[in-house]
């Protein structure tokens, strides 16, 4: 069974085409990264999945059912959601806020303290939220999303304001949930370091699907070159590689940008170079892919802002 199924889902607000013909299926235990600029349609897609808005055309199914309407309400217990920039009730303590959300979700209050512990807020559970830092508020937001062992998690910019250690802990927690079969949608402008944790990425731009697939598939589609950095190599480079030189500097060595299809032939020749002390190989990162696809769209259809300039 698919946890989430969008078929040609569309959302229009008067003039604005917030989302156009999006197809998406998610299996249990899958982690999807949903990327795009502000206004790309990420939030619209999430609202559709949550059943907060109805599609103008197409269908949306969550757990096999339409997510809006009265009968869908009980299934929401299995969904965890955290949106961007949420500020909780300042006058209540962290524990009280979480207990409130637990009661709304029908989760026993016994789970509140352990959940706070999971996100590292147990020491501040009795303090009022107004004394919390941005990172602590974000962790409180995560805690409410994690309540009641959700089967589907939708997280919008989940690591904003988290320090590197908290971010790592957060991703480890996600990996655990994934193991238990939880389906996760991570929504973001590109998150550095998120590559390892997502099975698939979906890139949106101005309400349209720009690219979709695993990282390997996206690299294939984008056909971006690898970056090779050579240390201690002497000149001249083998003929097959000489064309790919991107930059050379005395301190950093020689940098090559090698198209994927020449990767192996180039590598073989480079290994025979005398004096080569180190070789660093860098495939295109998610960030590179993201800007590639976004830029691609901008070339196809000029952005209104750019037209003005």
């Amino acid at each position: 069974m698919h946890i989430v199924e969008l078929h040609q889902a569309e959302k229009r607000y008067r003039e604005v085409h917030a989302l156009q013909g999006l197809d998406l299926t998610l299996r249990p235990g899958e982690v999807l990264g949903l990327f795009g600029h502000n206004g790309a349609g990420k939030t619209t897609a999430i609202k559709l999945i949550l059943g907060l808005i109805r599609p103008s055309a197409g269908t949306v199914r969550v757990f096999g059912h339409v997510p809006d309407g009265a009968d869908a309400r009980d299934r929401r217990r299995q969904i965890g959601f955290l949106q961007e920039n949420v500020s909780f009730y300042d006058q209540l303590t962290g524990l009280e806020v979480l207990s409130y959300f637990a009661r709304l979700k029908g989760v026993s209050r016994r789970h509140c303290l352990p959940t706070l512990e999971q996100v590292g807020l147990d020491h501040a559970s009795g303090r009022r939220v107004k004394t919390y830092s941005k990172g602590m508020r974000q962790r409180l937001g995560l805690a409410q999303a994690l309540l009641g062992e959700p089967k589907l998690l939708l997280l919008d910019e989940p690591t904003v304001g988290l320090d590197p250690i908290a971010t790592r802990d957060f991703y480890q927690r996600l990996a655990q949930l994934k193991q238990q079969g939880c389906t996760i949608i991570l929504c973001s402008h590109v998150l550095p370091g998120v590559e390892k944790y997502i099975d698939r990425a979906l890139i949106l731009g101005q309400g349209q699907l720009l690219a979709e697939g695993s990282l390997a598939q996206l690299r294939q589609q984008a056909a971006l070159p690898l970056t090779l950095t050579l240390k201690g190599a002497s000149y001249p480079l083998p003929a097959a590689c000489a064309d790919f030189v991107h930059r050379r500097s005395a301190s950093d060595g020689i940098q090559l940008q090698v198209p994927l299809e020449h990767k192996m032939s180039c590598l073989r020749q480079l290994m025979t170079l005398p004096g080569l002390t180190d070789l660093e190989l860098q495939p295109p990162s998610l960030e590179d892919l993201y800007s590639h696809f976004i830029h691609h769209q901008a070339v196809d259809r000029p952005h209104p802002m750019e037209e003005c300039q």
Binding site: L50, L92, E96, Y100, F101, R103
Partner: protein, 275 residues
């Protein structure tokens, strides 16, 4: 029902935390005790006035302040949650919009009821203990009725505040609208009626005219006090009201009916509000 009570409980706790309950109780208690003791200062004496005088003049002051308090308490309940981002989050929970709204009504209603009971109750206690002219048997039902009608009036205006909160796109706009509504219902309506009466030189239907007062919940509130102390000297618009042939009970019911209208309107508007 559980989720409705959860919302109610949270709102009430918020009211305790941000000192709403203490503040409202203090204001109402000071107002009531001050009026009871210094109410006849204009007549050249200081000391407790009669129960009837105190309550009738208290009701004409409370009619200004209770709607204002209720509107301030609740004007941002929906639009404020939206600005904080919690509205979107709450609606992603197994919680229907009507449950959220009625839960808030329950919580805010409880805050206002407790504060009114504490504030005016304290005044009743002071009068009962220190005034020689009033006895408990007269005092308790009179204050009881007064507190009940004040709470009902407050609830009506809390519901009005939700209507405002459901249509306003920003908190500041909601605050402005709340002020306009207060101005219209508390000040302009009576002036308009008086103007109508004077402008037509009293040619409006004398039977019908007093019933126009029922169109405004603040006037119903004042009528309740007056109908209870019918022998009091009245001035202004309320003098006309003596023709209204409605008992205290019927007036209370009308006020309760008034509660239904803005609640239903707020529910309808909130359901249509896009996210």
């Amino acid at each position: 029902m559980t989720v409705l009570l959860a919302v109610c409980h949270k709102e009430f706790k918020d009211g305790l935390r941000n000192r709403w309950i203490v503040a409202i109780s203090l204001i109402l208690a000071l107002l009531a005790i001050g009026l009871a003791y210094f109410g006849s200062a204009a007549a050249g004496r200081v000391g407790f006035s009669s129960l009837a005088t105190t309550l009738v003049s208290l009701s004409s002051l409370a009619v200004f302040i209770i709607p204002l308090i209720a509107l301030m308490l609740a004007y941002d309940s929906l639009v404020g949650e939206e600005e904080n981002g919690t509205l979107l989050l709450l609606l992603s929970y197994p919680l229907a919009r009507w449950q959220l709204l009625l839960g808030k009504l329950c919580g805010h209603g409880a805050i206002l009821a407790v504060a009114t009971l504490l504030g005016f109750g304290a005044a009743a206690l002071v009068m009962g203990l220190f005034s020689d002219t009033t006895d408990w048997a007269a005092l308790l039902p009179a204050f009881g009725l007064f507190i009940l009608s004040a709470v009902l009036l407050g609830w009506v205006f809390i519901a009005f505040a939700y209507v405002i909160s459901a249509v306003a796109t920003e908190k500041s706009k909601a605050a402005g609208l709340a002020l306009v509504l207060w101005f219209l219902l508390v000040l302009v309506f009576d002036l308009g009626l008086l103007g109508l009466l004077v402008g037509t030189e009293g040619k409006v239907d004398a039977e019908l005219f007093p019933y126009l007062l029922l169109l405004n919940p603040t006037d119903i509130f004042r009528l309740i006090s007056i109908s209870y102390f019918a022998q009091e000297q009245l001035s202004g618009l309320m003098a006309i009201a003596q023709h209204v042939q409605l008992g205290t009970g019927a007036l209370l019911l009308t006020l309760a009916g008034w509660l239904l209208l803005p609640v239903l309107l707020a529910l309808w508007l909130f359901n249509r509000r896009p996210l």
